[in-house]
Symmetry: C3
Subunit: 275 residues, 3 copies
């Protein structure tokens, strides 16, 4: 007989505890190709979470590094021709050897043709998890959206139903917004609450979240990896905003909170529901 | 009959209030191509000021993104061949469709030939505003200067007269230094005071200022955009330095102050004069 | 007759005092080519130490800028084809005109072939100082090592003897780890103690250390430059960790401490011994 949502909620929460603990113990090597704006911040967030980030984004080393990494994170924020070559090699390699990899289709949409075409090529290599904002995921799922540059003009709650269609191409879709939505075939849609309205005012938080999902995906299932990373961010954002409302200080405190998360903090602050 | 400097001062200050208010309301999309050192910092400064930065610096998307952006900011700090192609496309597009764009000719001078030649090509597309340090602007204006790498060996007050000659190529020239000078045909030279001696000890503050000028240029005239951005920085720098004299903390507090600026703070601390 | 280790210790310490003082006075221009993760952080660390960093990493300006810089710092963290061309030009130029230059062979080893081959080419231009973690230096010295991506799987104390063999290719080898080891023909191996276990949890600290060694090498001998930079970092790390154990705050405080170092702090906290 089917489990109740309460049983599923507890099952997910226990799996998130295990994922966080495994991340601390294994400190998985994450092969990251991200944008120029995000690279330093992404590396610091992953180190704060106790993962081992390595930004290797040239085509000459992409295959060999994907083979030794625990997971791969590809982000289309500021692609260059050489980086795109590297991404295609890493995605194909990850797909071939069944290494978990996360695709963050930054700016996917009608205005930014080149990266959107590259994203379509990358989708063919079956990302384990696709994560993005509502405009990006909505457009990927075939919705007509007018994105504002690399930001979003949609609310995440408007697109999680359409996102179901992407499960033909990946195992999990994570949509970030005021609330976050984790879409998979394993569980009902998981809505993660928390964070802070200051989070979008710090650049590259979404990019860092994508890389953290990849880090968790090296130690657990795709849907738990996405949920654990989103909870990690939502809790750190909520606690940082409770400390300060000034943007520079918030950014510092947010990294403090990513670093200080533990099972007690998770138990007290993890806020999600099944839809 | 001509307005007195007091009348002009009040006129400028009122326009700066309106520009800051419009920036908060419109959160203009700014198309930014900047250097590897600056990109994260520039994005965070613009987000703190409530603009919408997007770093799109590939030649395949430069034209389409320039068309939807509110303004464009081009910075020559660490050019690559591909980024230079993108800059030339963005500058030509911006000039064609009369989109405001800011040129920051980092390192312009005798030593760095390549970027200086690229800068000369970009100047042909009539930047709306040219901003830089005294060595860069002085050399652009035909002065013989021996710059120290990408730093400056001149005081900004030494070059604002020569800068007048650049008004044949752009509508406004902004020279940053201990005091800043805004040169245009609309007003007498505007000298902006404030800031802190710690500001040049934080990398990419000048680059971020150029991008903030671009953000303001999406909502007001070139000379008011330059004045508003310089005042925004000068006030934040002065208030941050009043809080701490330690460099790491200063940088965090500076972003706090960029974020916290409002009409009251502007009214109390805006310090500029007409020459 | 030979000097005692106590005499040598005092001689080194006096030379470090002089090097720090010279750095404050001369603020040497450092020509830096580093990775995308590190560039902002490296520039801020060097500015905090009072050097003048300039990231010029294109092949068209590499030679002319190397000629005017006080020293050159090359870091293989995220090489691109164009940046590698620039590094080879800068290294050859620095070697030809006897300009001090530092090589940081990030990720050198069996997995990352391309950069390792580039590093071998760069080694032919006789770097003044080679600095890296134990896995990188050990592999360069011919030891069989299985590095973990760009991290290390060795303790620095395991490789400083092998590092002696690298003195045929450079004048000084600096190995960073829990303790740091400075290897040269001028002195017995210098072991630098201090720092904090939080330091490796902040990205690009090693990259910044390499660039700081280059800054010091513009004003003193290679072995004193390496020792001064390692002491500067070890003291700042120890004092920052005494202030906070939260990672985001640690990073801010670390820059504060790099900035606030002076002869008194050096005298009180410099901790090194001769082996």
């Amino acid at each position: 007989m089917n489990k109740t949502n309460t049983e599923l909620h507890n099952e997910i929460l226990d799996a998130v505890y295990d994922a966080w603990t495994a991340l601390q113990q294994q400190q998985p090597l994450v092969h990251i190709m991200t944008n120029a704006v995000a690279s330093n911040y992404v590396a610091n967030i992953l180190l704060a979470a106790n993962a081992s980030p390595a930004m290797i984004d040239n085509p000459f080393e992409a295959e060999s590094f994907t083979r030794i990494a625990g997971a791969v994170s590809l982000n289309l924020g500021t692609p260059t021709s050489e980086q795109v070559q590297a991404m295609l090699i890493a995605a194909e390699t990850a797909n071939t050897i069944q290494k978990p990899w996360v695709l963050d289709p930054v700016g996917y949409g009608a205005i930014l043709h080149w990266r959107s075409e590259v994203t379509d090529q990358l989708m063919a290599f079956q990302p384990t998890i696709v994560r993005g904002n509502a405009s990006e995921i909505g457009t990927l799922a075939g919705k007509q959206v007018t994105g504002k540059g690399v930001g979003t003009t949609l609310d995440s709650s408007e697109v999680y139903q359409q996102a179901q269609s992407l499960l033909n191409h990946c195992q999990c879709v994570a949509i970030s917004g005021v609330s976050d939505f984790i879409v998979s075939n394993d569980y009902p849609v998981i809505q993660v609450n928390g964070g802070s309205e200051l989070q979008p005012r710090v650049t590259a938080t979404g990019c860092a979240l994508g890389a953290l999902i990849a880090a968790y995906s090296a130690v657990t299932t795709p849907v738990i990896a996405a949920t654990a990373a989103h909870l990690h961010f939502a809790i750190a954002g909520k606690l940082a905003a409770a400390t300060t409302q000034s943007l520079g200080s918030f950014n510092v405190t947010f990294i403090d909170q990513i670093h200080q998360l533990n099972l007690e903090v998770l138990r007290e602050h993890a806020d999600f529901q099944l839809l």
